[in-house]
């Protein structure tokens, strides 16, 4: 049996310091994170884009409850705030069996729910078994625990060995299993059992738990903050959990701030005004807003604009529809040589400079350059902006201007090479990128008609295959396995080549439709999810990124940076995209006196 005794030195230190609180503490050394010990007290006000539809994280898919849940609940494992490596959360350590199928988690002792009830293994088993694995629970994730073993669907089993130990048995080893656990907030069995199947409810009943108009005292967690009050549609107030189990290296209990106020402010304009008025302490902004904020900072405003390379966040890409309804276009779009030629006409540097004001970088294909584990620098394989090469590439395909109207014609005297480029018209960034692409493609004799559509229907348009070319952005995650449905040919989100998708939902993908390189990528993902050896996985996914750079399933455009504006009165600010489960720097923020 292979044993990981993680952070045991921290535990020793914690036990030494555990004088006041009964809980087994976790020490967060601010110095390791480049921060300083903070001061207790004060209120921090942050924005919410909209009112949360429920206070139960698993009942709704919604970024606003994601933000709140991150403060009210904990996960078994969590990200290191600096390195994104997994470290102990509610589980202090874990053992993995040699074959990689049995995980034994040792839980933190003495942790209590905010209503005083003890936190035990029963809560963990309840959460994973009754909530996350229940396919009727909207924001559950039953698929994470369901494995395809020889064509048969098998489910992981969960067992409370004793009040401090949980054993999870997987039917097959799973590479991303531990990483996935950091997104499952552990919720209290004693408050939610009545809604579960185990407690006699209907499968969908859990979606009704903890409504925003119900009693707030039912919403109990183990997290750094506790729900204190809610003014519908306007404000959520969280108060610090006096029994929280994290301390800084001086033994000061976290979180530092006494109160977190989340103001519901919809829309960029209103949020900007509220921030500038000082009613919000922090605001995530985009590259296009940067000059305005930075010039105010330089002019002496009491806030700073911070930017940093991003791991999470969504890099936009350009996709051509391999299965376009127009057969002439479909045959051109599915040729690697065509997409390469078009990639030569994508001026990434201009997008970075003009659209993002320099606050973006050349993207990975598609892994984020900030990803220290899986990123492979494929810049040399990418086809960087060169209009002459673009023209030569199109010439070589026989796509030439045969009728002398300035627009190239499809091979063999076909019609003009003209197609629509669909993008989200709500997004200024995407609109600007689309205009730059239209202009540069025009330079090489390819006519692009812009088609801005509502941002909310962009995904459904893409997935429905109702486009010729499109600008879409998918978020990066710290492990390619987590984005498998997007990048594995035949996956449910592999929208640019829908012919590869299974003929019957849930069945085998259509391998006949795949190009050889697509089949290779398919196999890489298939292997990658079964391998437990991290070094081999890194190698496999490196091969995938190089295949992407060469074959351009989509053309990655730019990877935007994280940018935030934060008032000087807030100390220890660490950027958080806002919706990253298992990554919560907020308890370290403090209000300087």
């Amino acid at each position: 049996m292979k044993t990981f005794r993680r952070a045991s030195f921290l535990l020793v230190l914690a036990l030494a310091l555990a004088g006041v609180a009964a809980a087994q503490q976790k020490v967060v050394n601010t110095a390791d994170l480049g921060l300083q010990p903070g001061q207790r007290g004060g209120t921090i006000t942050l924005p919410l884009n909209d009112a949360p539809p429920s206070f139960f994280y698993y009942a709704v898919i919604d970024t606003n409850i994601d933000l709140l849940a991150n403060q009210m609940f904990d996960t078994l494992v969590e990200f290191n705030l600096d390195t994104y490596k997994l470290e102990p959360g509610l589980a202090t350590s874990w053992d993995v069996s040699a074959d990689g199928t049995v995980y034994t988690f040792h839980l933190r002792k003495g942790v209590t729910w905010s209503d005083g009830q003890p936190f035990t293994a029963a809560d963990v088993v309840f959460t994973l078994d009754q909530v996350v694995s229940n396919p009727q629970v909207k924001a559950g994730d039953a698929a994470q625990f369901t494995f395809n073993v020889g064509g048969e669907s098998k489910h992981a089993t969960f067992e409370a060995v004793d009040p401090q130990t949980v054993k999870i048995t997987l039917p097959v080893p799973s590479a991303a299993f531990l990483l996935n656990l950091r997104s499952f907030y552990i919720v209290p069995k004693h408050k939610l059992e009545q809604y579960s199947v185990e407690g006699g409810g209907q499968p969908a009943d859990l979606n009704k738990a903890w409504p925003t108009n119900g009693p707030l005292t039912d919403v109990v967690g183990t997290g750094p903050y506790v729900l204190a009050s809610y003014t519908p549609g306007q404000k959520v107030v969280l108060e610090r959990n006096p029994d929280y189990w994290k301390v800084d290296q001086n033994g000061t209990q976290l979180p530092y701030a006494d109160e977190l106020d989340y103001l519901v402010v919809k829309g960029t304009q209103a949020q900007t005004a509220q921030f500038l008025a000082g009613n919000l302490d922090e605001l995530n902004i985009s590259g296009s807003q940067f000059p305005d904020f930075k010039s105010r900072e330089v002019a002496g405003a009491p806030f700073k604009v911070a930017s940093s390379p991003a791991l999470f966040g969504s890099p936009p890409h350009l996709a051509f529809n391999f299965d376009a309804k127009d057969p002439a276009l479909a045959s051109v779009f599915s040729q690697v040589a065509f997409r390469r030629a078009m990639e030569y006409a994508v001026d990434r540097q201009r997008v970075i400079d003009d659209v993002y004001n320099g606050l973006a970088q050349i993207p990975g294909t598609p892994t984020a350059p900030a990803d220290g584990t899986f990123y492979v620098d494929t810049t040399s394989q990418m086809h960087m902006f060169d209009l002459e090469k673009a023209k030569a590439g199109l010439d070589a395909l026989g796509i030439k201007d045969t009728d002398g109207n300035g627009v190239r014609n499809l091979p063999d005297g076909g019609k003009d090479l003209e197609f629509t480029l669909t993008y989200s018209a709500d997004s200024q960034t995407d609109t600007d990128i689309a205009t730059i692409l239209q202009n540069d493609f025009g330079q090489v004799g390819v006519k692009v008609d812009l088609q801005g559509i509502q941002g909310s229907s962009l995904f459904s348009t893409a997935l429905g295959g109702d486009f010729q070319s499109i600008i879409v952005a998918f978020g990066n995650q710290p492990d390619p396995e987590l984005r498998k449905p997007i990048w594995q040919p035949g996956g449910s989100l592999y929208y640019w080549h829908r012919a590869t998708q299974p003929a019957n939902p849930g069945g085998q993908p259509t391998f006949d439709a795949m190009a050889p390189w697509e089949k290779t990528i398919y196999d890489i993902f298939d292997q990658g999810s079964k391998l437990a050896d991290q070094a081999k996985r890194v190698q496999l996914y490196g091969q995938w990124q190089r295949l992407n750079a060469e074959n351009d399933p989509v053309i990655m455009i730019a990877k935007p940076q994280n940018i935030a504006a934060v008032y000087d009165r807030i100390g220890n600010f660490i950027y958080s995209l806002g919706v990253i489960p298992g990554y919560n720097p907020v308890p370290l923020y403090y209000v300087s006196k």
Binding site: T45, D50, A51, P53, S54, A59, V60, I61, P135, Q136, K138, A139, G140, D141, A142, A143, A204, N207, K208, P211, T212, N213, S229, Y230, T231, P232, G233, Q234, K235, V237, D261, L263, V265, K266, G267, Q269, A270, A273, Q274, L276, A277, G278, N279, Q454, S456, S457, F459, S460, T461, L463, F474, G475, Q477, L482, R483, P485, S492, L493, P505, G506
Partner: protein, 323 residues
Amino acid sequence: MIPFAAKRLLVMLPTLFLVSIACFVVITMQPGSFTDKYLSDPRMGPAAVAQIKAQLGLDRPAYQQYLRWVGGIVTRGDFGYSFFAGQPVSEVVGQKLVWTLVVAGVTMLFSWLVAVPLGILTAIRRNGLTDFVASFIGYIGLAVPDFLVALLLVALVLSFGGTNVGGLFSPAYIGTSWSWARLADLLDHLWIPVLAIGTAGTASIMRQMRANLLDVLNADYVRTARAKGLRERRVINRHAVRTAINPLISMAGLSLPELINGTIIASIVLNLPTIGPLLYDSLLAKDQYVAMTLLLLASALLMVGNLLADLTLAWTDPRIRYE
């Protein structure tokens, strides 16, 4: 008058029924569905999305969805369920109703209190300096969209170091109990939406009032009144204004649905907790029962407003008789 009102109310029912069908058809004919936004979430497979659709009843044929919704209204007064908020529509709308009425009521009051006297004044002093200045401002008020006025006011307040930009309260006063300080804070925030939303209305009512009064001032009975030797004040107030104000009462009735859909963009820009942004969001997110309920409410308000206007007219103007 009561039989008349009852008759009018009865006629409203089939109209509302037709309106509800029209709204439903328009909303369901839009491409996409409420669950589309889930598709990009890593937690969501197509199977999970299908399951949510089934929970929400979106997998049924459109006519069944419609009949269930109307059936709920008729039999239980249940206006359906908000997919987004996970609450009954009546509750979602109810949460916003109070502040919507406050903002709209104060704005209307402001518009009328400013516009009617100004209209009278500019009509009496036609082509004078007051008329010129008020008309000039009025034209600008009509020409500039309300959200732009809102943005300008916000920028102005920010440049003077103010913090009352958007919302109805400072963060510290949201959700606290009433006190004089809280009322002062509310008033400190309320003037921006009232000015932004009310400007256009004020200008239009003022122009109407001015035009109506000018018409009436040339009428024979005004000359007669003057010839009788009445004082000018009495001529204007008792004889001219009473007639000239009638068309404005009809206008007020027609403006009732603006409570819901008149000020959407300004309310979004100013982050007001009112119904306008709710309608906008529900239409974008295809939260169909919220959108339909609000559209239905707007048309009901239009009809009720019309009826109220007619009744008020009959009351203020004895010449009008309904039998």
